[in-house]
């Protein structure tokens, strides 16, 4: 049951719109209830072949020999694809925006780094014949020690998962093995806190489990182009990634999608398109590559597990004065999107609260498991779990009602956030108040009267003195430039640059606006 609380923040809105705000039927609903919505796998092409992928049985092993001779003679087999057949058999998804180094092959060549890593792709007349041929491929593995725990992976002498990142961590700004957040002096504040609470939290990996598994169908089209029907959540991401791996201009491909059977983040990684298109290129026939459910569940990238340590200092009156965070994101064997999850997480600290001293160290760690990726709440879900469990414990510790404790510490308009931007447009306090009302949870009058629009800013708008901050600030390195063009990508192994002279001091945040910003229905223009 959903209730619109139009009474709250009413002075910031015009509610005289014609189409916006109406519960109009979904454009796609008739298609859904008649079964005529067209998903990628609903395209039936003449002479279509089927691709299956042989996956590693070991979490970490050297590949001594791959013998496909018998499989090639197997009935119905049209083509066996190996790593050497992939034009650019090393990629990282975010290379499209110049973030990170190419670290993942489409088909493993000399080593496998997780159980389920693709080694050989087989194109055959039917799925069954592809399966039968798969059983005839002989792979000679030399098992290597594997590492599965994020903190073990950082210990000296841990097995190197991915040679591109020999310390088992993603490298930020070309030099750092983690992303930092420094705001105020957390250590000093902790020393002066009435209570200090340090806790460990562990998020599980999660499978996206969309009812439609990942897949694509690629077919030769006229004039040397290929049409690709795909389950992707990011059409151009997948198109450009495929163009890079297959080393052809992006306009070689006509990608069609847009109607997808659930994604939740699990269909961003372009898991099937490059090999599927390569199959079509090598056979001249339409090729279909769809993950089975077991493949989707075990080898389709999951939400990565995160291990989080929180250390908070709280005063007897309920004010949190310091939060120190150490977190390890389990990226699995390759980077995919976990490197960015870390950045998003750091920006999220310390949660929706105004805490004057925040210290964060967040690591993207490589282990010998299925590479992780984005999932609904990416970079934030696990941290929210940790922070909100911690908030409950802190409230308990100081003997406060957990709702009032949150209202007391909630961020408000005009406060300075730990990533050094002014908080605006806040509404946490109002959400807590309404949730209390709905659940008949009693709040004291003073907490019912508090507001996101009152009592913020002022002393809370300051960036506190932060130890070590007098050093020159390096400007952001090349990997952070905006350039949706891989030709601009920095070459691998570029030597680290000297830090340039300090830039002018950062722009000060704009002064808190006074009075409500009013939002007009006419084309979204604002007026005071």
């Amino acid at each position: 049951m959903l209730e619109l609380r139009k009474d709250i923040f009413a002075d910031e809105r015009d509610d005289n719109l014609k189409e916006i705000g109406k519960g109009t039927q979904r454009q796609d609903m008739l298609g859904h209830v008649t079964g005529t919505s067209t998903y990628f796998d609903d395209h039936k092409l003449q002479g279509m072949l089927h691709m299956k992928v042989l996956r590693s049985q070991h979490a970490h092993a050297r590949l001594r020999r791959i013998d496909t001779a018998e499989a090639e003679r197997s009935q119905g087999v049209r083509r066996i694809i190996r790593g050497a057949d992939v034009p650019r058999n090393l990629n990282t998804l975010l290379s499209l925006i110049n973030f990170g180094k190419d670290d993942e092959p489409s088909l493993a060549v000399d080593k496998v780094r997780y159980k389920g890593e693709p080694i050989v792709a087989i194109v055959a007349d039917s799925p069954r014949e592809a399966h039968e041929a798969m059983a005839k491929v002989r792979v000679d593995y030399e098992p290597l020690p594997a590492v599965f725990d994020v903190e073990d992976a950082l210990k000296p002498g841990a097995p190197v998962v991915n040679e591109v990142y020999p310390k088992n961590t993603f490298i930020y700004h070309d030099v750092y093995d983690h992303q930092k957040l420094r705001f105020g002096d957390a250590d000093r504040a902790l020393a002066g806190a009435d209570h200090v609470l340090e806790q460990r939290y562990q998020m599980s990996p999660i499978e996206h489990a969309p009812t439609e598994t990942n897949g694509s169908i690629a077919a030769p089209d006229t004039n040397g182009r290929y049409v690709v029907y795909t389950s992707t959540q990011a059409l151009f991401f997948s198109l450009d990634t495929s163009a890079k791996i297959l080393d052809v201009p992006s306009n070689t491909f006509h990608f069609v999608g847009g109607t997808v059977g659930g994604g939740f983040g699990g269909k961003v990684d372009t898991l099937t398109e490059p090999l599927c298109i390569l199959g079509a290129m090598l056979t001249g026939r339409p090729v279909r590559y769809v993950l089975g459910r077991e493949e989707e569940m075990q080898f389709g990238s999951p939400r990565g597990a995160e291990r989080i340590y929180l250390k908070d200092g709280v005063m007897r009156d309920g004010r949190i004065i310091a939060r120190k965070v150490r977190a390890y994101f389990d990226s699995g064997a390759y980077t995919r999107l976990s490197s960015y999850a870390v950045v998003k997480c750091v920006a999220h600290l310390p949660g929706p609260y105004t805490i004057p001293n925040v210290h964060g160290d967040v690591y993207c760690v490589f282990t010998n498991r299925t590479p992780a990726t984005a999932m609904r709440g990416f970079g934030v879900t696990a941290m929210d779990f940790a922070i909100e469990c911690q908030m409950d414990k802190l409230a308990h510790l100081v003997g406060m009602d957990p709702m009032e404790f949150r209202i007391l510490n909630a961020y408000r308009d005009g406060d300075m956030k730990a990533h050094r931007r002014e908080a605006k447009n806040c509404a946490l306090i109002e959400c807590v108040q309404v949730a209390a009302e709905k659940s008949k949870w009693t709040l004291r009058e003073e907490f019912r009267r508090m507001s996101s629009r009152k009592d913020g800013g002022g002393g809370r708008a300051a960036i506190p003195a932060t130890p070590g901050e007098t050093r020159p600030r390096p400007t952001a390195p090349a990997q952070q430039r905006t350039a949706y063009d891989r030709s601009l990508a920095a070459p691998l192994n570029e030597p680290p640059r000297e830090p340039p002279p300090p830039p002018p001091s950062p722009p000060q945040p704009a002064a808190p606006s006074h009075g409500a910003t009013r939002f007009s229905s006419v084309f979204g223009t604002r007026r005071r």
Binding site: G21, L94, G265, C431
Partner: protein
Amino acid sequence: MTRHRGRGIASVNYPIGMNLGGDPSQALVHSNPSGKFTVALSSIDLGQGMKSVTRQICAETLGVPVEDVYVDTADSDTGPHCMGSFASRGTHRVGNAVMAAAREARGVMMEAAAEELEVNAADLETDGRGNIHVKGAPHRSISTKDVAIAAQFKQGKTISGRGIFLVPLSDVNPETGEMSPATCYAHACLVAEVEVDDETGEVAMIRMDSAYELGRALNPRLVEQQLVGGAWMGVSHALYETPEPYYPDPKHGPRDFVEYLMPGPGDICPHDIAVLERPAPDGPFGAKGPGEMCANPVLPAIANAVFNAVGVRIDDLPITPEKVLRAIKAQGGARPQARR
């Protein structure tokens, strides 16, 4: 055996869009000669309602009925670039791009109408039902269909528009983490009530009450879909799901829906939701994005409710009966906390 009830809360915020390489999306809008509009996107509808919400945004901006707009996703030959459907960016980023495109198309449509009615375009308004008329003089009116015909066959105008919305990249300071990670934030608070069986360790959901602040509910039914379904996923994450039950030991991974657990239709509970709207200054009609954050408060709210019910803290997800039972045993029995 005793079943203990407990309540727990959590409150969260969530960034809309991402900060990585810049965050652009484009849209194209054009009319056919009958005054019916097509929105061309490369954005994806994976169930969240991209096609539907951008359709309403386009119709509102053009000033035409929603039936006169159709959204086409996603074709790389016709749909202009979009980063993709993730990071709660669809409604906000793509919505803004569609708004910009529709605004440009509306400009041409109004010019064409002005020429037909022999008035100044600034004196015209749309009625939202497919007509354009002189302000204060509804009888001096022309249908959008007639405008489209005139534009195409008489005036030689294309009623079309291009839109892009770009949030430029914000550098991340390596030493301090200073950055502009997002332009606006959605908010939520959720109260979960659970019942914990101290003999089996099982946790049953009793009810949820929540408040979500989303800028503006562009379509309350779509918002309800996201919030109800998202909270279900939160329950699922909290109590059931894991592809590695003994993480970090990778063994015993589930291979199918018999082994990978999720709450079925018999495991759900009533969920009473309030939606608050504090418009984001840069959102389309103030909208943020409900898609991701709806699941987030549920996980800790349930963990906190379990503590309230039996006095044990489960800090490793998922909160399985095995973990609850071991924790209850370790503390020598259930210790219900003060009822809330």
